[in-house]
Point group: C2
Chain length 331, copies 2
Amino acid sequence: MATISDVAARAGVSTATVSRALNGKSTVDRDLAARVREAAEELGYQPNGPARNLRRQEAAVVALIISDVENPFFTAIARGVEDVAHEVGYSVVLCNSDESADKENRYIDIAIQERVAGVILSPSGTTTSVEKLTSRGTAFVAVDRPLPEQESDVVLVDTRLAARQATAHLIAQGYDRIGCITGPLGVRTADDRLAGYRDALKAARLRSTTKLVRRTEYKAAGARRAAQDLLDQAEPPDALLVANSAMAVGVLQALQEHGIRPGRDVGMVAFDDAPWAELVDPPLSVVAQPAYEIGTVAARLLLARIADNSRPATTTTLGARLIERGSSHRG
Amino acid sequence: MATISDVAARAGVSTATVSRALNGKSTVDRDLAARVREAAEELGYQPNGPARNLRRQEAAVVALIISDVENPFFTAIARGVEDVAHEVGYSVVLCNSDESADKENRYIDIAIQERVAGVILSPSGTTTSVEKLTSRGTAFVAVDRPLPEQESDVVLVDTRLAARQATAHLIAQGYDRIGCITGPLGVRTADDRLAGYRDALKAARLRSTTKLVRRTEYKAAGARRAAQDLLDQAEPPDALLVANSAMAVGVLQALQEHGIRPGRDVGMVAFDDAPWAELVDPPLSVVAQPAYEIGTVAARLLLARIADNSRPATTTTLGARLIERGSSHRG
DNA sequence: ATGAAAGCGCTAACAA
DNA sequence: TTGTTAGCGCTTTCAT
């Protein structure tokens, strides 16, 4: 494979000039630069990334470690990150931690080893492995969930408030035994959504009981079992707040099996506006999170931090939007 | 950041021994190896990837370039690839080409520059940039779509046959003005699904007319317009074959707007078994593709080719499964 | 079994 | 403006 020396030889210049020309340094003669580019073209020259990164001590790459590639919320974030990063010449590599602290840890190690310029991460719980990044001075931004005791830039959605509003909406529609199906204990979004749900019950002076709350993985299968479990109780809920769209699938399956019609029989609001939410019968009321924007904001913060890692940590909180559809109306 | 020399100094050995110990070479004394590992641990040593890759002339990374991160079909492939690659110590980086030949080309360049061990790609059309990979001897496997004139390993679904069977099923259910909404010209899966659709019409001696065929991006918005267009004709179709699940969303929206009920009014089968397919009313009949398996097979082929790039190119064709639900039955 | 030393390909001081 | 050269951190001969 052609190296910079081959290009230099062909263009009749030194390797330094080739490097300068190909990296667009202004200190190189126009004609010479053209000759270099031509030689590179002819040889099909592709710079050796590892050599460059070794020398530069950094790769123009940002790693985006998300907890579920199959969750549209996270892939939308990925698009936001990509769009911003590409604008300024950074590549994005996507890593799927699969809600596993192990895999997350592994990818963080890889990011460090490959000397990426920065990392954007949706932390899968109470992981401490992020310290490695900060202690090494790798630029880092958390999205969707804050880190327990870490001081870092973080981009969040005010998910507690959103959960409260969604629950209040259900109450306003006349439901009064509202249940909540949320994610695992310790996952901040799951805890916040539960807290917001309780805020709303309290504000409406409805009694909050653990009998109406279920926690499970952020997956369809777990949510389905949780919903079945709730519905099989002596006093089942008459409405449900569901913490993400994968779970919503499971809950809707359970309702179907029980012959229960959303809205009329059991009110329902779920987080995340999936493309299919309007297609089910009745259409699903949702809390739409600004996922793409989370990605763009996080990417911009990361770029700023790559430029200056001493800047103070910031927290950006974006709002969510309740979209009322049929599943939260009795009519 | 600690280097191999720091570890060597601390363990009181040479850098060569550290390298050997940390890479599990058997030629190193057990006690010494332990001492080295301890020293590395204490220093929080993380090997410098670029240096290693520069020296080795290859990174233990495979690049997976897919045409749409938001499409569950491709993310399922990604999981398959990951699971196999991780087993043997390779990392997977996911790149989103977004159905753009430009971005695809860019990611291929990056993969070459970073000297990844291999590339798995769902080619976005008639791109020639793949030649770069083969001419440089980078291991390469195509998934979902074959390359025009490239001889390479490829993992496909017999999508033409599947389209034919799906269409035949619609015919068997009594539909006789069947339309087809498929992807862009030149995208092989789009062409194949159209061809299979025509095969079935021909076999049933139904006349095939371009008035019932629409081509658009593999996205919801385009499919929605296409469906509206088809339905607004003087002689609208009484059934539709739809080429992927994103498109199915658009088509269902269009049907909703026209007040048309799937199944009873217009039969419908779509490719890809999305999680929500059973939740719409009536449930959506689909062609389920073995996406995860495509990923595992492709990864295994890639690993074999990394080990021996002179092996003959193979084509693996997997079958798809028609799942009949309410949307393709008049009842 | 271990160490010394070369060199992977590039960029950036420094010199000219 | 251009060239010379050192050196990034690692692996791997080659010697011992």
